[in-house]
């Protein structure tokens, strides 16, 4: 399944989104400056607190 992921070029600072297929093995380069220093920005964790099993923790 493909998901939209966030990337940041560590040379020019350009941030962009790209569709990433599961198990994709692809060389990345910045769409703006062509640098290969591409940082994969992980999605921030949800504000909802969970108990680690996907269920909401008791407040």
């Amino acid at each position: 399944m493909a998901t939209m992921e966030n990337f940041k070029c560590m040379l020019c600072g350009y941030e962009y989104q790209e569709l990433v297929e599961e198990g994709e093995d692809k060389e990345r380069s910045c769409p703006k400056c062509r640098s290969n220093s591409i940082r994969h920005l992980k999605a921030r964790p949800s504000q909802d607190k969970t108990n680690g099993k996907g269920k909401k923790a008791k407040q």
Binding site: L11, E27, S35, S37, R39
Partner: protein, 570 residues
């Protein structure tokens, strides 16, 4: 079936009640559950397809056994796994022909008289379903106007096949000559992007095809329409030579389909630790110097599975692969470079990380046991050494101690003026050489340390460079498709990602660590990257360098508490 006992008398097939589409004839005729796979099969013996056979399930049929005089049918025979100890493996698993059902703009699924070049081969063949009488599937009439469409499933990035399939142009030219020879009244028209007649006598064949009356139109059709009354087809195409939109009516349209990597490629790839190119075919060890060798020692390629090629090239490659394999088998002893990894059994924590990152599966490990390096399989990328957190792996000639000494020596004086570069032996280091040989100008601030692979660069090596005051650290290696250690540089990416996170957490600007893929031919890129690194270096202040030194200082290890001797009772 016992192939030696079978006399190919065909009595069994005559009585077999099962009728299935014949795969060899592209489904244009039928076969029985017991059949000869194709007319020239060697040995010429019937085979019994147990998936189709009614033999024992649900009700025993057994008609073939009743009529088989030599008694060569055995229902209890089954597939067996055969184990062989071999010294070399030649991979020649071929390719799969493109299935045009997904490109429905050419009407393959909608119109009976649109067929593929493979189906055409069967229709025109004397051993084919029509015994060589060329008829169109829609009404069994002989077609007189035939349109060929080239590059169906080739040179089309939109369907993930940007490469040329190499064989389709010459196959179509051959087909037009065949038709002109058998049926002089047939008119052939070929729609193409480029005719690639590269090879001995190929241009001659192309010219003969044109002289025989085949019309070549530069431009692929955009649409196809069928006349429901007579089944004729109209192709609408832009003739890019004249710039006109043209409509051409045909009795039959043949899609010249390309080829792609075989279905089993991934399975074989994981079995033999082989890598793939971006096209999905197997990647050779070196495109010019080792074109039949796989990166894994003792494995060689022949034919389509490495890249699309014609019969002549396949035969040449097969001969070369056989020669390479025989040379290896007859060598008596094998010499390998001493750049291999060694595991310190005392330091090993038996975690198995080294085995999981080895692209050659050259490290064996079982849970709870010390990992073991197979010297003959180890290619010396050093990925395991970089991944080991317990300093239990030493890479001969490229040890951690040697790298630490180099880092400290390079950055001993004026580190703030230097860009520290880790360059892989095969690509980036050669790229630096290329820049030098080509007399390219680039800033003199860089200091290059050679590693066999970018995956040899451990997190600790990068952190040590920052501790020694490096303002910028660049890790560089081969492009993905060029990695000389199958896929080791993917580990480099993961390691650099982790380092960016670590640096950020420690309050160090992560941009000070850079990653670049530079091939041996990219001297210009090396020079450009060095200029970029120099610009970046100028932005790093002395305060930043000092702050990084302090932030990345290794934490003193806590001394282990010695266990107190158990109190003696009483």
């Amino acid at each position: 079936m016992d192939p030696e006992a079978c006399t190919a008398c065909a009595e069994c097939a005559k009585v077999c009640p099962v009728v299935k589409p014949d795969e060899y004839q592209m489904g244009l005729s039928s076969r029985k559950a017991i059949y000869i796979p194709y007319p020239q099969a060697v040995p010429c013996s019937y085979i019994l397809n147990m998936e189709d056979c009614l033999g024992t399930n649900p009700i025993a049929c057994g008609k073939c056994t009743e009529v088989c005089e030599p008694d060569c049918i055995n229902y209890d025979d089954h597939d067996r796994i055969v184990t062989r100890d071999v010294g070399a493996v030649i991979v020649a698993i071929g390719a799969d022909v493109y299935d045009p059902t997904e490109m429905d703009e050419y009407g393959y699924t909608r119109f009976d008289n649109v067929i593929t070049s493979m189906e055409f081969e069967r229709l025109i063949c004397a051993g084919g379903p029509t015994l060589g009488h060329f008829v169109r599937p829609g009404d069994q009439e002989r077609p007189k106007r035939i349109g060929f469409i080239q590059c169906v499933g080739s040179r089309n990035p939109a369907i993930g096949r940007p490469y040329c399939s190499n064989i389709c142009c010459m196959n179509t030219i051959k087909d037009t000559l065949l038709l002109a020879d058998h049926y002089p009244d047939v008119e052939c028209t070929v729609f193409y992007q480029d005719i690639r007649a590269v090879g001995k006598s190929f241009e001659d064949m192309f010219q003969r095809s044109k002289e025989a009356g085949t019309r070549y139109i530069r431009g692929l059709p955009g649409d196809i329409e069928e006349n429901p009354e007579n089944g004729n087809l109209t192709l609408i195409a832009e003739n890019t030579t004249s710039g006109q939109i043209e409509r051409h009516e045909f009795d039959m349209v043949i899609l010249s389909v390309g080829v792609g990597p075989p279905k089993d490629l991934a399975k074989v790839s994981s079995l033999l630790t082989l890598s793939k190119t971006s096209d999905g075919f197997f990647m050779e060890s070196h495109p010019k110097l080792k074109p039949v060798d796989a990166p894994t020692r003792g494995v060689f390629f022949a034919g389509f599975c490495e890249s699309p090629k014609d019969i002549k090239d396949s035969v040449c490659q097969a001969g070369a692969a056989a020669s390479r394999a025989v040379a290896l088998l007859n060598a008596g002893e094998v010499h390998i470079e001493a750049i291999t990894s060694v595991i310190d059994a005392d330091a090993c924590k038996k975690c198995g990380v080294c085995a999981s990152v080895c692209p050659y599966s050259a490290i064996t490990w079982k849970k709870g046991e010390v990992a073991v390096v197979i010297d003959a399989a180890c290619a010396g990328c050093g990925n395991c050494g970089a991944a080991c957190k317990f300093d239990a792996i030493t890479m001969r000639h490229f040890t951690d101690a040697q790298y630490t000494a180099q880092i400290r020596a390079i950055l001993a004086e004026d580190p703030q003026d230097k860009v520290f570069v880790f360059a892989c032996n095969w690509c980036s280091y050669s790229g630096a050489d290329m820049a030098g040989i080509s007399r390219m100008h680039y800033p003199v601030s860089n200091r290059v340390v050679r590693t066999m692979c970018s995956a040899r660069v451990s997190e600790e090596m990068v952190l040590e460079a920052f501790r020694c005051g490096a303002p910028i650290v660049l890790v560089s290696g081969c492009h993905y498709a060029d990695c000389h250690y199958i896929s080791a540089n993917r580990q480099t990416v993961q390691r650099v990602q982790r380092l960016w996170n670590k640096l950020e957490k420690a309050g160090v600007r992560p941009q000070r660590l850079q990653l670049e893929w530079i091939s041996a031919a990219e001297g210009a890129k090396f020079a450009k990257v060095m200029a970029q690194m120099e610009e970046l270096r100028k932005t790093v202040t002395m305060e930043e360098i000092e702050q990084a030194k302090a932030a990345l200082k290794p934490k003193p290890k806590k001394p282990k508490k010695e266990k107190e001797p158990a109190a003696v009772a009483g």
